[in-house]
Amino acid sequence: MNILKAVLAVSILSASSLVMAEGGGDRVYGRMIQDNERAMQEYAAARGKTPPEVTHYRYGMKLDIAKVVHTSPTGSGCEVMPAQMTYEDSSGDLQTIEYRAMGTACRNQN
């Protein structure tokens, strides 16, 4: 019964705190993403293109990827973190999509 209570208590806790989950998150990764955006603005400027607008990925979105320009590094941790991919669409315009990725810096974990 203890387990049942525990699971119940946690579900309630989790649900109630969901509202706040979006709040102060990603403090650590904020700078990384800003650096990446700046680099991509410079990339666009150097090629005389319009700087890419950052779009957050949603399910059902059709991505018109003609050529991948750059993906932001995910090697700074092993947990879920924000990542950005900049690409050229079929009309040659630069686009940046922001999404969630698992960090690739996991140790061997055996």
Binding site: A6, Y43, A83, M102
Partner: protein, 440 residues
């Protein structure tokens, strides 16, 4: 401590007080403003299927455990002033979902849940602990339960709840690009232990009567492409370890980069030589190329020592390239190579999905000159020589991108390994589902 409800009330209490405090105070970078509270829900399924009739200790050649972990961690900011003070605290709970005699417990090999004196897995267990911390200029000192990250002491987190150590750590970031750290730890808590004050144990020798482990070292970024690390540690009366490593990355174009690295450890017996006398070294190197969504890497590794390269139990204090899901390719005199392929599905329009596979092979492992602690003998009583093994790993990861389950991650890890007498033949599957929640 072994009471889930107590554990939960602690989490609840932290949430409650945190919210109240935030409302009361609106200062930048203070004790409260700098606080974070995270709750990670982790669901873990783990099995090992021993082949060739080899026993897992459960008697039937099979180990299996399924459990749920709730990891609540609170980190305060620092009080204002020349010297800032703060606290870190955690409350963690592990719940058995499916497990039992014949598959887990004392004879099992996957060590997810702790087990009772009869060798049966417990229904639940918890970890509760914390540390006090102080910050002066660019130096942070912590005393209490800590989670060190370094090549010589690295807490492990490959089971249900993370490993921790108790002691004092110091970290300094005064010089741009240079991160220095050190510590002196006098006990450890393995992932499936509720006690924060267990004695030290190593992977290959088990319990070792060492009073403390101390370590010191640093990571230096020479530039964007080159990083260097130097560390040393002493497990009192067991070993002195010295580590040197470098990471390299060199972009050839926007979308193509070369990656590489070297790792070197030297381990020498110390004091009362509880792990016998030894003077070993082991090194590894890797080189690879990343082009768009693809990364291909080749690694080589060689143990020049007469003994296994050993490290703290369930820790990840082995930054060698061929240390992979099951095998470390760290047996005496063992040589090995590895090839690894990573695929990121984002460029193909599926953000959050990635795959990895690798194959590694080791040969020439030779226990002829191993000391009495690490010696392994064959049925004929002679030291094992000319030992070989291989391992293949396959991994898939996915992160939910939107909705109320945003950031929930799924990770499946499969490993198959075959070996001559010195190691096991087994197939392994791990399923890890995690849901991180940032409360503060």
């Amino acid at each position: 401590m072994n009471n889930p409800l107590f554990c939960l009330s602690l989490i609840a209490l932290s949430i409650g007080t945190g919210q109240a405090a935030i409302a009361a105070e609106e200062k930048a970078e203070g004790f409260v403003e700098g606080s974070s509270l995270t709750i990670l829900n982790r669901n873990l399924y783990f099995n090992r299927d021993f082949r060739k009739g080899q026993s897992s200790g459960t008697g039937n050649g099979y180990s299996e455990e399924w459990a749920h972990g709730i990891i609540g961690q609170f980190e305060s900011g620092f009080t204002e002033g020349t010297v800032g003070f703060g606290i870190d605290a955690f409350a963690m709970l592990g719940l058995k979902l499916d497990s039992g005699d014949g598959r887990s417990g004392a004879g099992g090999s996957v060590d997810v849940m702790p087990y009772n004196s009869a060798g049966q897995p417990e229904d639940d267990y918890s970890k509760v602990g914390g540390a006090v911390k102080a910050r002066f200029m660019d130096t942070v000192i912590k005393a209490g339960d800590v989670f060190p990250v370094s090549p010589v002491v690295q807490y492990g987190d490959s089971r249900l709840l993370p490993e921790s150590f108790r002691g004092i750590t110091v970290a300094n970031n005064s010089i741009d690009g240079l991160a220095l750290q050190g510590g002196r730890l006098h006990s450890m808590s393995e992932p499936n232990s509720s006690s924060m004050r267990d004695g030290f144990a190593t992977f290959y020798a088990g319990s070792v009567d060492a009073p403390w482990i101390a370590y010191f070292g640093g990571d230096y970024s020479v530039n964007d492409n080159v990083g260097i690390s130097l560390y040393t540690s002493r497990l009192k009366d067991a070993w002195n370890q010295y580590y040197a490593g470098t990471t390299l990355s060199y972009p050839l174009s926007d979308d193509v980069a070369l990656i590489g690295g070297l790792n070197y450890y030297k381990a020498v017996d110390e004091g009362k030589q509880h792990l016998g006398s030894f003077d070993n070294n082991i090194w590894s190197g890797k080189a690879g190329v990343q082009f768009g969504a693809h990364t291909v890497m080749v690694g080589i590794q060689r143990n020049n020592g007469d003994d296994d390269f050993d490290y703290l139990r369930q820790s990840d204090s082995i930054y060698l390239d061929n240390s992979i899901q099951y095998s470390d390719f760290n047996s005496p005199k063992e040589k090995s190579w590895q090839v690894r392929y990573d695929l990121d599905m984002e460029p193909f329009g599926v953000p959050g999905l990635s795959f990895m596979t690798r194959y590694a092979q080791g040969w020439d492992a030779d226990y002829t000159n191993a000391n009495e602690v690490y010696m392994r003998r064959g049925d004929d009583g002679n030291p094992l020589t000319d030992q070989k093994r291989w391992e293949r790993d396959i991994e898939a990861k996915y992160v939910v991108q939107a909705g109320s389950l945003k950031d929930m991650s799924f990770r499946i890890r499969q490993a198959t390994t075959r070996a001559t007498d010195f190691e096991s033949d087994l197939d392994e599957v791990r399923l890890i589902v995690e849901y991180p929640l940032e409360v503060l």
